[in-house]
Each structure stands twice: as structure tokens, then as C-alpha cells.
Symmetry: C2
Subunit: 532 residues, 2 copies
């Protein structure tokens, strides 16, 4: 019996030793005396063990970060000014050098990079249209970088090319184009997707511009709302239209295009001898979250033979919700649609699609038939080589994370997420619309998750509307925001818009956010701003 006991004891000790050996830093390949370098990793001879060891230690850093990100007691950020980070923080040196660092130091650098960054997946991060950290989407992105390939040909991205094709078709079905017909491509972001729309429209109406340049076309004008995204303006400049030929449309109090204003401006342009070519209708504006009335705009586009693009970078996600998709009624009449799954659908950055109703235009507009990539004499069906549709050559695989999330959530999962975010924003709206110290920028329940409001500090509450109040109010949001960032508790955006002075724009796309986080935000603004 005593023998048995002794043996068990010994076994126990051995077991514990073995267990510790796995975790002990002294024993790991990474932390041993001779600090291993990048050169010791695969493809080096005998590189397998150090590689696995390095990746496992590295993944532990990431999983710790992920765990903490969802913990509300963690700060959203640990703010430092540029000069502070540039001077170097406790051994975190951003400068690059001639000689290699040890892998141990590389892991420290990774930890520090995360430490001084911003936790965009934190339940109280509301600063951008893209927020949140979807675990399946994240896994998709890790796989994508492990596969490290390029979308230009089926040859080297067979599975991803097919996933893109099927997903784009599904998106077109959801838009409402018959049997998902049409075309499309994933691009590096909404601005590039919008750029595609203008390029394709020009190619449709004036294909000779491709070879002869803008000189081959009359003076072309484009239309977009004064609330629309600035990428339309960037594109007008880049593609050679000129920003003066982008006509801004008036909006109603809620930021929606007034169709009559569009028609008046089209007629005016025609009278001047210009050619109205392209109208951008925004589905979900950046600041107000407004949805332009697509059907009425489509009527005018048909009447005057103009291309209708719907910029649904932000609002496109609502198409997944049976409850909210009516806000995009008429989208099926668009000639092209921008839709960024990396915004409202919570897909990791970057994931943006440009969808086109007429097949062949993307190819016609952009193809240059590079012989070294798109050989016609390959053994497979080369219509799957989609690279020549793009303005890019190499193209990052943006589809996989989205496809994987769709598999994991189902269409219903995206719908639930979107409905939940819109419910939360209604909750916020109802909470503050009559609350002391809060003032809404526009009346009525928001169309999207954007809730725009001023916080009025005590010292301003008695003041009557006028220049002094405006000037002082303009400074409130930046001050609160600065304190918010310095305390690291939450993040929300602010900006002026037209003649409205700085106000907060709350947006909710974060799947981690709950009512308690909305309550927290409101109370935090009050706490920080009350005595300003």
C-alpha cells in the first residue's frame, strides 16, 4: 500500500513537471538562452518546432487580447499623443533597424502594438461605422492570410473565386435583380466601389472614353446629395470629371435627397448643354443615416437616361432584414450598388462589393487582356479568371471571412444582428429625445442606427439661440470626446454638418453592445460634459 502511495506521489510529480514544462517560459524554444531569430523558423531546416512554438505563444497573446476586449472593465484605449509613442514607450521602439530582433522581442512588440491601439471590438466602441470583432470572421481572416493568395485567377485561388461568385450572386438576389443576374466584384472599400460605379456608367454611355479619354465625351455631370459620402467627390476628381461637374443635391431636414431638386438640376444642366450622366442615391448617409428615396430618383433617372447608382456602403446591410429592407425600396432599379459587409454586417475590414445589373460592363470597361495572367489556352474554363474586370491587378481575398460568417450565421443571423442594432438605436433615441441636457439634431426616429445629438452643458442651458451659444456649443463635443479618449471609457464620433455646429453621431453596428452600454455612454457624456 505504501509502495502504491509512493508511486502515485512520484507519478503526480512527474505529471506536474510535464505539465509545467509545456508552459514554462524557461523551457520554451522562444525564451531559451540563445534567442531564436526569424531565421530559425520555417522554411529553415528543423524549423517546424520553433515555428509551432512561436505561433502558439503568439496566438496566446491574441486570445488574451480578444478575451479582454469583450470585458467591460478593460479600457477601450490607452491614449497617447503621437510624440509620446514616437519617443518610445518602455521598451516599445517603433524604429526599424539593420539587425534582426529576437523572436522574444517580436512577441513583446506584438503585445505592445495591441496595448497602445484601440479596441474596436469593445462593447463600448461606437466611433466608426465598422465596429465589433466577429470571431468567425476573424478566423476567416486568419485563414485568408495563411492561404496568402490572390484573386486574379482561378488558377491560384480556385475556391475563393467560386465563393466570390456565389456570394455576389446571393447579394444580387437580395437586391432583387431577377435570378441574381448581373455582375460584381469585391473591392478594397466603399470609395473604390463607388469609383467603379462611375467608371462603368461612363463606359456604358461613352465607351470611347476608354481609348480616347474624356475629350471624346461632352461635358458630363454627376449628381449626389450634399449629405453623401465624400468618395463621390474624390472619384469625380480622380476620373477626370472635375468636382465642379458633381452637382450637390438639396436634402430635406432628415438628410434625404429632394427628388424635385434633382430634376430641376438635371434640366438646368441640360439647358447649359451639359450631359447629365450619373446619379448617386445614398442608402444610409454617413452622418444622419438617411435613405434617399430611390424609387423617385429612379423615375427621374429613367426619364433622363441617367445611370442610377445606390451607395449602400452603410445601409446595404438593411437588405438582410425583412423589417428594415423597405428603406431601400427601389434598389432593384439601380444600375449599380455599393454594399460594404464590413460595416453594418460586422465583417472584418476590408470587405466591400460593387454590384452591377448589366453583365459584361465591368469586363468591357476594365479589361486589358494581360497575356501573362489571363492566358486563353489554360486547361480550365477561363471565364472564371475574373481579374481583368478589376482596376487592380493583385487583389486581396476579401471574400472568405464573409462567406464563412454567412455559413456560421445564416441569412437569419445577419438579420438578427441588424434588427438588434436598430432596436438599440431606437432605445437610445427614446432615452435621450426628451432628456434634460440633450437636443436632437433632427426630429423623428432615425432611419438607420445613426442618432445625432448635442449635449448641452449646464452653463449653456439657459442661453438663447444665437452666435454665442453656437460658438460655445461647437466646442462641447470635441472637449467631451478628448476627455473620453483620455479616460479610455468609450468612443463616439462628432462632426459639424452644413450649418449645424459640432454634434455627436452615435452609430451602432457593434454586436457586443447592449442597452447597458448605451446607458453607460449617455451617463459618461453627462459626467464629462456637465460642468463644461
Amino acid at each position: 500500500m505504501f509502495e502504491l502511495f509512493l508511486l502515485l506521489l512520484v507519478v503526480n510529480i512527474i505529471f506536474l513537471m510535464l505539465k509545467n514544462r509545456q508552459k514554462s517560459p524557461e523551457n520554451s524554444t522562444i525564451n531559451c538562452q540563445k534567442q531564436p531569430l526569424n531565421l530559425d523558423l520555417l522554411p529553415a531546416k528543423n524549423g517546424e518546432e520553433p515555428t509551432m512554438q512561436f505561433l502558439l505563444e503568439f496566438v496566446e497573446i491574441l486570445t488574451n487580447y480578444i478575451r479582454k476586449t469583450f470585458d467591460r472593465s478593460t479600457k477601450v484605449l490607452d491614449f497617447h499623443h503621437p510624440h509620446q509613442l514616437l519617443e518610445g514607450m518602455e521598451g516599445f521602439n517603433l524604429e526599424l533597424s539593420d539587425q534582426p530582433e529576437s523572436l522574444e522581442q517580436i512577441l513583446v512588440d506584438c503585445r505592445d502594438t495591441l496595448k497602445y491601439g484601440v479596441r474596436t471590438g469593445h462593447p463600448r466602441f461606437f466611433n466608426q461605422l465598422s465596429t465589433g470583432l466577429d470571431i468567425v470572421g476573424l478566423a476567416g481572416e486568419w485563414l485568408t492570410s495563411t492561404a496568402n493568395t490572390n484573386m486574379f485567377t482561378y488558377e491560384i485561388a480556385p475556391v475563393f473565386v467560386l465563393m466570390e461568385q456565389l456570394t455576389l450572386k446571393k447579394m444580387r438576389e437580395i437586391i432583387g435583380w431577377p435570378v441574381g443576374e448581373g455582375d460584381g466584384i469585391f473591392s478594397p472599400g466603399g470609395a473604390i466601389s463607388n469609383m467603379y460605379s462611375v467608371m462603368i456608367a461612363r463606359y456604358k454611355f461613352f465607351p470611347e472614353v476608354k481609348t480616347k479619354g474624356m475629350a471624346a465625351a461632352p461635358r458630363l455631370v454627376l449628381f449626389t446629395s450634399e449629405h453623401s459620402h465624400y468618395s463621390i467627390k474624390k472619384t469625380s476628381a480622380a476620373l477626370g470629371f472635375g468636382t465642379e461637374n458633381l452637382i450637390l443635391l438639396n436634402t430635406d431636414e432628415r438628410g434625404r435627397v429632394i427628388p424635385a431638386d434633382l430634376e430641376a438640376k438635371v434640366i438646368e444642366a441640360k439647358q447649359k448643354g451639359y450631359v447629365p450622366m450619373f446619379v448617386n442615391a445614398t442608402a444610409g448617409t454617413t452622418v444622419y443615416g438617411a435613405f434617399d428615396p430611390i424609387n423617385e430618383i429612379a423615375d427621374i433617372c429613367e426619364k433622363y437616361n441617367m445611370w442610377l447608382h445606390v451607395d449602400g456602403a452603410w445601409g446595404g446591410g438593411l437588405l438582410m432584414s425583412r423589417k428594415h429592407r423597405h428603406k431601400l425600396n427601389g434598389v432593384e432599379r439601380a444600375n449599380s450598388v455599393t454594399w460594404n459587409p464590413h460595416k453594418m454586417m460586422g465583417v472584418p475590414l476590408q470587405c466591400s462589393a460593387i454590384l452591377v445589373r448589366e453583365r459584361g460592363l465591368l469586363q468591357g470597361c476594365n479589361s486589358m487582356c494581360a497575356g501573362y495572367l489571363f492566358q486563353p489556352d489554360k486547361q480550365y474554363d477561363v471565364t472564371y479568371d475574373t481579374g481583368d474586370k478589376a482596376i487592380q491587378c493583385g487583389r486581396h481575398v476579401d471574400i472568405f471571412k464573409f462567406w464563412l460568417m454567412w455559413k456560421a450565421k445564416g441569412t437569419v443571423g445577419f438579420e438578427q444582428h441588424i434588427d438588434k442594432c436598430l432596436d438599440l438605436s431606437a432605445y437610445l433615441y427614446n432615452k435621450i429625445k426628451n432628456r434634460e441636457g440633450f437636443e436632437m439634431v433632427f426630429n423623428g426616429e432615425p432611419q438607420h442606427t445613426n442618432v445625432c445629438f448635442w449635449y448641452i452643458p449646464l452653463s449653456l442651458r439657459g442661453l438663447s439661440d444665437g452666435e454665442e451659444r453656437r460658438e460655445r456649443l461647437h466646442k462641447v463635443a470635441p472637449k467631451i470626446k478628448a476627455m473620453m479618449m483620455e479616460s479610455g471609457t468609450t468612443m463616439v464620433g462628432y462632426q459639424p454638418q452644413g450649418d449645424k455646429v459640432n454634434f455627436f453621431r452615435m452609430v451602432i453596428s457593434n454586436p457586443a453592445a447592449t442597452r447597458s452600454d448605451i446607458d453607460f455612454l449617455v451617463e459618461e457624456i453627462e459626467r464629462l460634459g456637465h460642468d463644461l
Copy 2:
């Protein structure tokens, strides 16, 4: 003694059981009776354990894939035609559905996605300019997606914005601009970087195009070599110049621009009343790997007041090598440079930089001052908000993996990698230049790692040069390539160029490749092609 033996046996069994328990699928959270869904992961309540479990199982899939990728007994790819993958392979279904899949199925999907893909990191993958799988770069990409943020403002990407700034400065120093002065930005790829160069050049000479469009400028012409990358042509079309206003320059037998031809064509354009504005010199052409003579081109650009862009997407990496950087002599005279670390430097896709000698042009050309992003009244130095320089709005973090690799390798590590690749290509060249059945496309040692050659099957060796031989030779490379892909042993590109029929273009950027892999490739081509 027998007791002891028995006990040891029992202990052994327990030990094995415990060990197996860790691996057994029946016991993991993922594979238990109630199959967990995406909804069970963080941010769900009690989501931490399933999340960690899911990520660990997932990482095991990735690390297994990585391990096998570097194992030469693994196939480079398991080729299937599009219709085969679309029909569904043994439970791998690409279609998206309304209802969620279990996380168990998600893991299977991930495994299958990798199974039917192409191992671009495999030591025998030579198909593209971007090859290889750098472990530290990969880790960088995993961290980037975990941080999931956006480059547009310092506010939400403080560390990454500074890393970009420091790395771009370092690259400018290496180019040779005094104290690294100038500007730049990382873009989604070389094609977009080249697009930036043309936009900025136009803005420099005709800033009014930004507001008034191409109508405000005279007829502008651009110049590039007939061997240059097709993105220059795409850009001429997209930006409104028209491809006819892109003049192609003649090259010598090695694919290098003939400067006298440039000058003659500039003079000819001027005589027609056009305005020569932009010259692209390629540092490392896509097919031949040729380096245009930058100094002589720069002389002409200075003489005629044209913008000089150097497209070093492929060849820029050679600047890191003291032995090979002379091939880019004169690059410091360029007004802008494209340089893709995701090609010759082995950084995971996407990582491309556009570097500009004159500070302020990028900003001037592209800025639209969106109030909701680039508020002037932030608490930090807003010159660090670089987003308004970009044609994009949201911009993926491409810098971190590159920065991390630079830390891990040091400048010397990149140099070693580049020297090694060029040595390998010299080895290949010397091996085949006089080898029976091989014929070089051009004479002399390659400037870059590109080695271009025909393989002549036995049946063609006696044939004299003529139409029949050309026609038959044209079909050889595609046939060998198809067999290569179907057997999955190695991958190398082919294409025609000008009047040359299909030939192989071998490129070496893969850090895993050794002389034995070069030997293998040569023998594999002989094996597959000998009896064609």
C-alpha cells in the same frame, strides 16, 4: 515487483487516456452533442470558453496546413475544375443558406477550403511574383485582423499610423531622397499605386483638373514601355486620359526601354500639339524582369519637363541589396516610385507603397476634408490623420506585417533573401542555358529573378524555325502547365510576349526554394514535356 509493474501499466493507460482526451473530438466543446453555433461565441454570455476552444481547434487546422506546406512530399495543389468544386466535393458545399451551420461544420469548411486551394508558400510554387509564406509576416497579419481597425485616422489606429510613417520614411531613404523627405501611402496593390502616380503628376502640372476635369487640360500623353505592366494602361483609361494617349515605347532585346525612342516619341507628340506629361520607367518588368535605364530616362524627363515615375512593384525590393541595387541607379531622380513589399520581399498580400518625392501633392490632389472624419479640433496633432491623402476612405492596415518582418529580419535579412533569390535564378539560368531541349527567350544572365525559356519536346527538336514550329511550340507550355497542375507537383507561369510564342517565365521570390527545387522543376518539365 509485479505490483509495481501493474501500477506502471495502469498509469500508462491513464496517461494515454488523458493525452487522447485532449485530442479526442468527442470531448471538445465543438464536437459535443449540442453542436455549438456562432451565437455561443463571444460576445455571448459565457462565450469565453467556446471562443477559446473554437480558436484553438481552428489554429490547429492552420498550423497543420503550414507544417505541410513546407513539406516537399505535399502536393502544391489538388486541382479541380470549377464545375467539380461547384457541384460539391464530399460534403464541401459552397452554397450559402438561410440557417446557421454548426461550428463543427465551420471547421470542416475551413479544412476543405485549404484542401482545395493552392499552397503558395510551397517550396515549389513559382507561379506568381508573390510567393512564399513568411511566418512572422503571417503573425503580423493575424494581429492586424485581430486589431481590425482602419488607417484613416490616428484616433483609431495610432500605432499603425506611426509605423506607416516611419516605414515610408525608411523606404524613401533607401530610394535615396535626402533625409527620407517626401510623402507616400500604402495602397491596395501596385496597380492602385501606379494610379496614384498618374493622378499626382496630373495634379502637379494641371491642378485645375481636380475641379474642372480633363477639359481644363490640353491633350496629355503618357509614356511607358511595351513591356510594362498593364496597370498603366488601365489607369490611362480610368483617369480619363484614354489608352490611345498612352504611348508605348520600344525596348531592346532584353525588354529595356530604348531612351532614344522615348525622346523621338516625345518630340513627335509635341509636334502634334500634345503635352507629354508622364513617363513610367519599369524597374523589373513582369515577364522579362527588365530594368529600364532610369538615369537616361530621367535626363529626358528633365529636358522636357515630364513627371518620372518608377514602377518598382517587382524590382523595388532590389534596393535592399547592396549587390543588386545598382540596377535601379537613378531611382532617386524619380518623382514617384511604386514598390510592393508583397512581391520580392515576401510580405503577405496586400502590401504596396506609392512614394512621392514632393511633400503635399498627395494631400492636395486627393483631399476633400470630410468633416466627420478629419475634424480639425481634435486634441492631438491632426497632421497624423493621413486618410485624406488617399483615394480610399476606409483603408486596411497593410503596414503591420511589413513592419514586424523588418523588425524580425532587419534590413540585412531582406538583403540576404533577395541575394539568395537572385543567386538561385542565376543557378537556373546556368543550368538550362545550354541544356538539351531548352532554349532561352533572350540571351544573357537575367537582371531580376525572371528566367524565360522554351522547352522543346523531342518531336520539335529537329524542326527548323518557321510557322509550323512556332504553332506547335506555342502549345507546349500550356500542355506542360496543365499536366503540372493536374499532378500538383509544381507551378510556374507561361505566356506569349510580342511575337514570341508561349514560353515559361520562371520567377523566384519564394524563401523556401532551394537548388534542389530548381532541379526538380527542370526535371519535371522534361518529364512532362519530353514526348509531347
